[in-house]
């Protein structure tokens, strides 16, 4: 009886801790989003304050990665680039720690993910998020007029993209190998928990159930290869403007790649053409009039929502395989809201420029999720199979109480990992124009709202706008793309209808 109580207590404790940490994560994100949508960036920073460890000490960077990402971007939006860079640097340290954690840590985390759920693992950012870390940091350095350090960040973003392309290729190859190995294992009739998981994953019934409830990832609209077009575009723009030898070739590769990913976007095509002409010597830099590029980060990026459904598993009991239905929980990314009202730019002669949309984060995330999905599904099925086997064992060893306890444990811990960096936008928009003679540029937004900008006299100016919601303000950064001068940061538009704000955030 004492043994039973101990087991039930342990089960209850794990389930309680798991449920509690998931609840904390979700309420923290809700608080962040409410502040973020309102444009209360210091409130957003406060909402994401990392909790101290159980010993009261500050957590290592990889244990507070999600908080660091949110806080860094909130500081950048508030115009505090020094703090934003420092926090992004810490986030990079955390990513490195996460990448290079030892085998023991990986096994422990993997074990916890299977026994409890994926949310028990340290947060591992999506590859797209890692690329954006360096891109935002590059923008912050440019804003500070530090072209040398901006160059390093754009180089890093480019290298992360290269690594991501290779990672995807490797993941696809690994999945293929795993399927081949699975066939071999089935033929040799090995009996193990692992075989329950592998047989279940390979069964048509499970795949059909996933397709019916979750959809077919292979049908998603994705990019042909991994890319965050906005990051690659900014990489191209920086090297287009830098004027150093060899940079035009880098600019041409990036700008052509982005233009190819967004056919029909005339602004991107024009930039690619200009870079190619300059690199080939068909056009001279001296013949280009002072130019202004406008990039607009629009709306709220996709978030993961939980999808729960029952799947058929094949469980091994001695020499027999018996089917069992049990629940799994998977994350499914859903788009949130962009700012619908178009942003227009009006120069001093009254000419209007409408930025063109590109780089939808939903598509970027789906591209990555499609490659990651087999691993996510594999862990969810493994977790479900082990919990089902535990229920059987608990029923045999501990009777009805054991079965009840393990069933409660399974129900409480079957949760999808819904963590993601929620400070990224729905999509980007872009346009470019000759610098107006007077330097005056008017932004026209929602409901006739207007904001005037006085452009500095730089040859290549980037007007970088980020507006998470229609109700919140737009943060405008005036950036010297050559990185010779410090930039300006201003806030335009915005309203304060609290009801709208909360509805938007969720």
């Amino acid at each position: 009886m004492k043994q039973t109580i101990k087991v039930l207590f342990a089960i209850g404790l794990v389930a309680g801790v798991s449920g509690c940490s998931s609840y904390q994560q979700r309420s923290q994100m809700d608080a962040f989003n409410v502040s973020w949508v309102q444009g209360d960036y210091l409130g957003a920073v406060e909402a994401m304050e990392p909790k101290p460890s159980l010993t009261g000490k500050k957590k290592a960077e990889d244990k507070q990665l999600l908080e660091l990402l949110h806080q860094a971007e909130a500081h950048r939006m508030a115009g505090d680039h020094t703090t934003a860079i420092a926090l992004y640097d810490q986030a990079e340290t955390g990513m490195k720690l996460d990448d290079t954690s030892g085998l023991a840590t990986d096994l422990l985390e993997g074990g916890m993910a299977v026994l409890v759920n994926d949310a028990e693992r340290d947060y591992t950012p999506m590859l797209a998020e890692t690329v954006l870390v360096n891109t935002y940091k590059g923008l912050s350095f440019l804003q500070q007029g530090n072209r040398d350090l901006a160059r390093i960040e754009f180089n890093r973003a480019d290298d992360r993209t290269r690594r991501a392309v290779e990672t995807f290729a490797a993941e696809i190859a690994t999945q293929r190998d795993a399927l081949e190995q699975e066939k071999g294992k089935q033929q040799s009739q090995q009996r193990s928990q692992q075989q329950s998981i592998q047989q279940s994953l390979a069964s048509d019934a499970l795949q059909q159930s996933v397709a019916a409830h979750y959809g077919e990832p292979s049908q998603w609209s994705v990019y042909p290869e991994f890319i965050v077009p906005s990051a690659t575009y900014l990489h191209g723009l920086f090297f287009l403007a830098s004027g150093e030898s060899g940079d035009l070739e880098k600019a041409t590769v990036s700008l052509k790649r982005v233009a190819a990913m967004s056919p029909g976007n005339q602004a991107l095509a024009a930039d690619a053409e200009m870079a190619e002409a300059l690199a080939a010597g068909r056009q001279s830099r001296d013949t280009i009039d002072h130019r202004v590029w406008v990039m607009y980060e629009n709306g709220l990026g996709p978030v993961a929502k939980e999808t729960r459904f029952d799947v058929p598993l094949l469980l091994l009991h001695g020499n027999t395989t018996s089917p069992a239905y049990t629940g799994i929980a998977l994350p499914r990314y859903a788009d949130r809201e962009p700012v619908i009202e178009p942003l227009q730019l009006v120069d001093d002669l009254g000419a209007r420029y409408l930025p063109e949309s590109f780089s939808p984060m939903g598509k970027v995330v789906r591209t990555e999720m499609q490659a990651r999905f087999p691993a996510v599904l594999g862990r969810a099925v493994a977790s479900a199979a082990i919990k089902a086997l535990m229920q059987n064992a608990a029923a045999e060893e501990l009777g009805a109480m054991g079965q009840l306890g393990s069933a409660l444990f399974a129900a409480a811990t079957t949760q999808a990992d819904l963590r993601s960096w929620q400070a990224i936008p729905d999509h980007w928009e872009v346009t470019s124009l000759p610098r107006p003679e007077s330097g005056r540029l008017t932004l026209e937004g929602y409901n006739g709202q207007q904001g005037d900008i006085q452009l500095p006299e730089w040859p290549y100016t980037l007007v970088y706008i980020k507006r998470p919601s229609q109700q919140g303000p737009a943060q405008v950064s005036l950036i010297d793309l050559e990185g010779r001068h410090g930039g300006e940061h201003l806030s335009v538009f915005g309203s304060s209808n609290a009801d709208d704000l909360i509805a938007d955030a969720t």
Partner: protein, 200 residues
Amino acid sequence: MNKLLVLATCLTLLLAGCATSTRYVDPDNDQGAVSMALDYRDFERAASGSVGSMLESGAVNNPNGGRYVMVVSRIVNDTMQRLDTDQLVKKIRVDLLRSGKVVTTTAVGIDGAEDEMNMLARTLRDSEEFDQRGVQKKGTLQAPDLSLSGKILQRNRKVGREQQVEYYVQLSLTHLASGLALWEDETQVIKRGSNASVSW
């Protein structure tokens, strides 16, 4: 109880013994672990290789006799690391100065004078507080004859299961009177290691 105490003491002593101790490193014979980043050994090698090449080429032999005056122009850090390019340049300057063929001016630089005292000392002219015999006269600063510029490039690639990081230290010495590059050199630093994470 005593057994526990002995065990705890032994464990503490063992752990203390395992702690990494601080020690001196001989820069000429450092067998320590190699990182994927550029470190002082790479700078040392690149600098001494470049100076050797420069002296060997004869580019810094002044046909009129005497020493050339060199200015350090822009060294672009096109890597993924926050490097102090001055660290590399300083080694080159020291070696060139020792050669007796080149002296570096600190009075001009791409982002202003390296040593602002060059101009500040000249503001003492006409100051009654200073003995004017020691104050620098007009027209004493020497203009540079040569300019050293360059770029440090980084290219990463996957080789099998490993990551290969290639650094290229490219330097040019320009004769400012003619605008011709008298000497150019590239030093390669190639490293291969884990592909588990990024190279910086």
